[in-house]
């Protein structure tokens, strides 16, 4: 009875009242009739009874109607309105009209819902404010970490990647790009990292850091790193690892050390021999003729060693100083700004080249020289020329007027440049750049100062700025790991959702893949920056009908790699993940035909969104990608439809919305889903063996 609605109960109440009144009326009339004992009055009693009965029915019905309309239904409407405002965040005041006969109830309910709305708005505003602040802070941190000139990695206690920045991608790259929740040791050699981690764990000092030197797995790079422990994580504390590429430094050190050793080796021997020979000659002049040959030979080998080693030192000198390539036009801009700020004129003509130099020092040197020339009264307007010169470049500061005596130039070069550092002189700048500087007079008789730069190259288009993104999911730090896929909870698995575009629908008759795209889902989130999207050269023509579908022409794939190479990269990308595709058997058949050429087999567990759709929505529905995404409220932009990456992203988003629905149907682990999917085998074959 408690579950009956209020209106039903009120109705039953009035019905019972009417029935009881009828009963009382009937009983009263019956008693009166018996008391009279006269059968002749029976019709009158019946008539009176019927009349009174109808009157009672009419009255109860009327009062019931008023009660139902103004009390029961009013209460239900009021309650509905309050519930809507409580649960569904409906805005606006409750309409008090239907409940106008309920006394203060409607105004009281209105007051309650109004207060609720106000509180809710205040809370939402506070949350929004706080969220904005956190977002801004997060953006700043992301920008900071994406721009620091070192690779930054965060790993869990069992060495899975949780965070990496763009520099880390460059350092770890060479082959497969890093991905979230992948093992660090796919990229770096295990021993030094594991050793440093163990050392920090043993030390037990939360502030301790451990320095290490580790090579990449490919062996192409040597990285210097610093490790610091984080204080959370299930499998022991995770850590932050900052990495710097020291391959070139180490090579330069080794080269320098080897040269130094060779200098001593080749100078010591003839020097010792000469000392002996000359010692003998000094004591006994008669030995002269016999020893002269020996002396000449030793001195010859000493001289040639010094000449040769000196030349080698000279060649490699600038390699030891890390100088970047600077655009000639950028140098000119810097010099012009400083020279013009000093009230002088400069006309510049930079060649389209890049100079290997410390731009700041060269700008400071050239502008300081211009100011000195002006102060010496030689000129006030200059012609600045930067031109290609052999393998290097020539920076020339020219002027109309008397030439500059070298002695004066040498004096200026000994003075500190005004760059804030007392020990940076013109001479030290020249030394850094392994170059010289001198006054000259060109063919037109224009005086000037020449400053050659040893290395330069032609400028090409400025490369597009590299996106320095950071990729992370800190929830991975506290994620539990299951041994088997079957027992793993759905949200704990890593998925690679993919789609292929092909030359046609019949792989058995020679159709091939022309494009593969894939995205990774880690910890229940699509990782925005981890995308695989590649054209594939199918080794055959693409029928016009297929080009109409996906827009890929033969010319577009002419320079693309073949399926063997792309397959290897894709296999690496999908390693350790569950493969997800819409109509997976179709895509898998194209891939599996090439497993021998790829040299790896796609033995990943596989989920098919067609089957998952059937599990969730029933077999009666349409399960095309368009129908599925439409049902789930996902729109595929028209220009992305039938591109591999567009369909992949749509499939991934659909899959992410299907996951909670599967959980709602009681499927928690991968095994649960697999068992359910197999019931729909009639629809599509399950590929998991």
């Amino acid at each position: 009875m408690e579950r009956w609605s209020l209106r039903l109960r009120v109705f039953l109440l009035f019905a019972a009242l009417a029935a009881a009144s009828w009963g009382a009326l009937g009983a009263g009339l019956w008693a009166g009739y018996h008391r009279l004992g006269d059968p002749a009055v029976l019709p009158a009693f019946v008539q009176a009874g019927l009349l009174a009965g109808f009157a009672i029915l009419g009255l109860t019905a009327g009062i019931w109607y008023l009660f139902d309309e103004n009390v029961a239904r009013a209460i239900e409407r009021l309650a509905g309105g309050m519930r809507a405002r409580a649960h569904a965040a409906v805005a606006g005041e409750i309409d008090p009209a239907p409940a106008r006969y309920l006394g203060d109830l409607a105004p009281a309910a209105a007051a309650v819902t109004l207060t609720l709305a106000e509180t809710r708005n205040a809370l939402a505003e506070a949350v929004a404010r706080e969220t904005t602040r956190l977002q801004a802070e997060k953006d700043r941190l992301e920008a900071l970490l994406s721009d620091v000139p070192v690779g930054v990695l965060l790993c869990t206690g069992d060495h899975q990647l949780v965070f990496y920045n763009g520099q880390a991608v460059d350092l770890l790259g060479g082959g497969a790009a890093p991905g979230l929740d992948r093992r660090l040791f796919d990229y770096l050699r295990q021993a030094p990292v594991a050793h440093a981690h163990a050392r920090l764990l043993e030390a037990g000092d939360p502030d301790a850091a451990s320095d290490l030197l580790v090579a990449t797995v490919a062996g192409a790079r040597v990285l210097a790193g610093r490790m610091r422990l984080l204080d959370q994580g299930r499998d022991g504390p995770g850590y932050v690892l900052t990495l710097r590429d020291v391959t070139a430094d180490l090579a330069a050190h080794a080269e320098r050390g080897a040269l130094l050793a060779e200098v001593f080796d080749r100078v010591r021997r003839p020097a010792a021999n000469l000392q002996t020979v000359i010692g003998v000659l000094a004591e006994d002049a008669g030995a002269g003729p016999a020893l002269t040959g020996a002396m000449l030979e030793e001195v010859g080998s000493l001289a040639s060693a010094i000449t040769e080693l000196g030349a080698r030192y000279d060649d490699s000198r600038s390699d030891w100083w890390p100088l970047a390539f600077t655009r000639a036009s950028d140098l000119v801009d810097g010099i012009r700004a400083r020279v013009e700020a000093a009230g002088l004129e400069v006309v510049a003509d930079p060649a389209p080249i890049l100079l290997r130099c410390d731009g700041f020092e060269i700008v400071a040197l050239v502008s300081a020289l211009a100011e000195r020339v002006a102060a010496a009264g030689l000129a006030r307007s200059f012609a600045l020329e930067i031109a290609e010169d052999g393998a290097g470049a020539m920076v020339r500061l020219g002027w109309q007027g008397p030439a500059l005596p070298l002695g004066q130039l040498d004096g200026w070069l000994a003075d500190p440049l005004e760059v804030g550092l007392a020990d940076v002189t013109g001479r030290s700048v020249l030394l850094t750049h392994a170059t010289e500087c001198w006054p000259d007079r060109d063919a037109q008789g224009q005086a000037g100062i020449c400053l050659p730069i040893r290395e330069a190259r032609r400028a090409h288009r400025r490369p597009p700025p590299v996106t320095r993104a950071v990729v992370y999911d800190f929830d991975l730090l506290s994620k539990a790991r299951n041994a088997g896929v079957l027992d793993a909870r759905l949200e704990d698995l890593t998925y690679v959702v993919f789609d292929t575009e092909t030359t046609g629908l019949l792989p058995a008759q020679g159709d091939e893949i022309v494009q593969i795209a894939a995205v990774r889902i880690v910890n229940g989130r699509r990782v925005e920056k981890e995308v695989f999207d590649t054209l594939v050269n199918p080794g055959r023509s693409i029928p016009a009908g297929s080009t109409e579908v996906h827009g890929i022409t033969g010319a577009m794939v002419a320079d693309a790699p073949r399926i063997e190479e792309v397959g290897r990269l894709f296999h690496k990308f999908a390693e350790g993940a569950v493969l997800v595709a819409h109509n997976a058997p179709f895509d898998m058949e194209f891939l599996r035909r090439h497993e021998p050429g790829i040299g790896a087999s796609f033995d990943n567990p596989i989920l098919d969104t067609v089957l998952l759709s059937a599990v969730v929505f029933g077999q009666g529905e349409t399960h095309s990608l368009d129908a599925l995404t439409h049902r789930l409220g996902i729109t595929i932009p028209e220009e992305a439809r039938h591109t591999a990456i567009g369909d992949t992203v749509a499939t991934a988003d659909a899959f992410l919305r299907l996951l909670p629905m599967l959980r709602g149907k009681g499927m928690v682990t991968f095994g649960d889903v697999l068992a359910e999917v197999r019931k729909h085998g009639r629809l599509l074959k399950d590929l998991n063996g």
Binding site: T307, L406, C437, W438
Partner: protein, 130 residues
């Protein structure tokens, strides 16, 4: 030489006595007239006074550097026919370029073989008199 019998005069500007003694022997034996100054400061006055055919000029000199002397000689039109052969113990490619840019006729790095020096001197003085 066209003017047979005319003896070329060579001025050595070198502050290190040991190599100066050796160069003295060598130049005399080659049949040239020999003269020497041991500091940069004296060099210009001596060149102007004696107008030698060739100056063997060391770069590293106390006072005034060899480069400066070279520039000064080249800026004096009266000394246009004076040949300059520069010698340095730091024979980097950049220094060679600097020397030649300042007007030296030859540039030779120490240590050098006598053969090499002899050939360079002969080249600068024409066919030589020896």
């Amino acid at each position: 030489m066209a003017e047979a019998g005319k003896q070329h005069r060579v001025l050595v500007v070198e502050d290190e006595d040991n190599i100066a003694i050796a160069l003295d022997y060598l130049i005399t034996r080659e049949g040239y007239a020999h003269d020497r100054v041991s500091s940069g400061a004296e060099a210009m006055a001596r060149i102007r006074a004696t107008h030698p055919d060739l100056v063997l000029l060391d770069v590293m000199l106390p006072g005034v550097s060899g480069y400066e002397i070279c520039q000064d000689v080249r800026m004096d039109p009266g000394l246009a026919d004076v040949k300059i052969l520069m010698m340095t113990a730091r024979g980097s490619a950049m220094e060679r370029r600097k020397g030649l840019a300042l007007g030296a006729d030859g540039f030779i790095a120490k240590p050098f073989e006598l053969k090499e020096l002899r050939a360079e001197v002969r080249r600068l003085l024409g066919s030589g008199t020896a």
